[in-house]
Amino acid sequence: MNDSLATTPAGAATRPAIGGGGWPRFRRALLAHRGLALGAVIVTLLVLAAVLAPWLAPHDPYLQNTANRMVPPVWHEAGNWEHPLGTDRLGRDYLSRLIYGTRISLFIGLVAALISGVIGSTLGVLAGYFGGRVDAVISYLLTTRLAMPVVLVALAMASLIGGSLITVTLLLGLLLWDRFAVVARSATLQVRDAEYVQAARALGCPLHHILLREVLPNIAAALIVVATLEVANAILLEATLSFLGMGVQPPLPSWGLMIAEGKSYMFFQPWVIAIPGSALFMLVLAINLLGDGLRDISAPGGRNE
């Protein structure tokens, strides 16, 4: 037999072999997918900024200096390198506040997504696995939750309890579970009747074992994608609540609060809202790019957009 007619099935050569799971595959996809790579780089940088804030920030973010109020950023004629992004109305260094603000956004985003992830995934997995009446009750809960206007309810509750970092985190965690539940439910429906789940059931494995060991790992990829997008969502909502005065309270350097504090100066010094706003936009954009990218590479058909 001739070598040029090697017996490879038609089509086998059209697609590079997809070998190796886990990290190598992720790394390859990361390099191939531009949005994912960009998102990952920005998110990594901002996470580093949050972790290393005490070393990165040039000044104490809470230190007021009334002699140095509203110094413009360095690219401005009146700016100076002492305060690269200027100072706010109380003379606090804007760059330092911005860097510390990363901590607040990321903390609220991650913890709120974690709480809502636990609630939503539990409800979704139960609804998908048991179906029937359990599904009906959970779907009803979901419909009810979706009918509640999130911003309004969060504002009202925060005002009742008193706005603070913890209140906002808990409120968002308790409100944002809907997408987790939807995705967990449909993903569970797909794996519920898979052979490995049936095998576990036939072997008499306890329910929690089936749900945690068999079902959860197989829907985790979908849940991680939702978690990414929900972190971004929680960060945006925290900024909104803080901007409206019912979220994180002064003097904490929340970006939403910085925009609210700068609002009365924005006509003459637009940078006071441009800087924290752009930071917020960049962070949310990067997390969304990461989430979209993860969805693309975890979807079997590759990019679906």
């Binding site: 001739n2 007619l5 017996t7 490879t8 099935p9 038609a10 089509g11 050569a13 059209t14 697609r15």
Partner: protein, 335 residues
């Protein structure tokens, strides 16, 4: 003059690993009013050929041919607009999946009348009357009421009948039927085949019937073209092909069908061993030689088109020997 002449048709698709040569320079023709069966395994390029004839290939596909002549018109010289004037009017198509080939959002009447209203100057009432007439002709009862129904209200067999009626709306010269019975139950398959055959005779329409099933070919074909790995390796009248195949691939396919009375009960069904070569990149010589029981050194050169009978052409170095009905060569060893 034949209705359709295909000379040196190539279809190339760019893929990740290079270029997929889906159709590699094929020749065949279709006479007016005849039923030509295009036979081959999946992936042999038969569907690509039909899409190239209709002009329905995706934009990234590259089509070239020495000649693609339909009733004296060079199809590849036409603008897209001029080709769309032919589609549905003079050449129509029936697809494999009746369940998805009809638009769920519109009534059957709407979708039936569409082609006629597009191509002919007729009133809505005339179009409707023709649609009802054709629905009755394809064996659908209560045709007038069916016109107001939606595709989901019909079974697969009924939908395929509707597709046939739809193809006949403008009285086309040529219908391309791409595996129209593959997705149907066996009993329904037989009904649809008979229907197609009857209508084809009655309306004098030429049909290119694409299938992988030689049993179907035996029932309906006037002539047969066998495709393998993007090439037409044998064309013959149906009788000649079944009597004395001129290509070892065709012979292998025929051996795969159990013949009642001939195949001893309990004997194992034959299959052609080996796999189809990849169509990405260039292929030298005979594409079948890696699976062929007769392969010799000469098979590394392109096999010539050998005339082994009237209108019977096979692309094999041993075609003359094979097709001689007096001495059918049996391959010594089947690996």
């Amino acid at each position: 003059m034949p209705l359709l002449t295909v000379e040196e048709l190539h279809v190339d698709l760019p893929v990740d690993a290079g270029t997929l040569h889906a159709v590699r320079g094929i020749d065949f023709h279709v006479e007016r009013g005849e039923m030509l069966c295009l036979v081959g395994e999946s992936g042999c390029g038969k569907s690509m050929t039909s899409m190239a004839l209709m002009g329905l290939l995706p934009r990234r596909a590259r089509v070239s041919a020495a000649s693609l002549r339909f009733d004296g018109i060079e199809l590849l010289d036409l603008t897209e607009r001029a080709r769309s004037d032919l589609r549905g009017a003079r050449m129509a198509m029936i697809f494999q999946e009746p369940m998805t080939a009809l638009n769920p959002a519109y009534t059957l009447g709407n979708q039936l009348c569409e082609a006629l209203l597009r191509h002919r100057r007729v009133s809505r009432r005339e179009a409707r009357e023709r649609a009802i007439y054709l629905l009755e002709r394809v064996g659908i009862s209560a045709a007038a009421e069916r016109m107001a129904q939606y595709p989901h209200q019909l079974s697969g067999g009924l939908r395929q009948r509707v597709m046939i009626a739809m193809a006949l709306m403008c009285e086309p010269d040529l219908i391309i039927a791409d595996e129209p019975t593959t997705a149907l139950d066996v009993t329904i398959q037989a009904q649809i085949l008979r229907l197609l055959r009857d209508l084809q005779r009655e309306f004098g329409t030429a049909v290119i019937f694409i299938t992988h099933d030689l049993g179907v070919v035996a029932r309906i074909a006037d002539r047969v073209a066998v495709m393998y790995a993007g090439e037409v390796i044998e064309t013959a009248s149906a009788e000649a092909l079944f009597a004395a195949p001129g290509h070892p691939y065709t012979q292998g396919l025929l051996n795969c069908i159990p013949a009642p009375g001939k195949t001893p009960p309990g004997s194992r069904l034959q299959a052609i061993p080996g796999v189809v070569p990849s169509l990405v990149g260039e292929l030298e010589g005979c594409a079948f030689r890696n699976r062929c029981p007769l392969a010799e050194a000469i098979c590394e050169t392109p096999p010539p088109a050998t005339h082994v009978g009237a209108g019977h052409v096979a692309r094999c170095h041993f075609a003359a020997r094979l097709a001689d009905p007096a001495r059918p060569p049996q391959p010594e060893v089947m690996p």
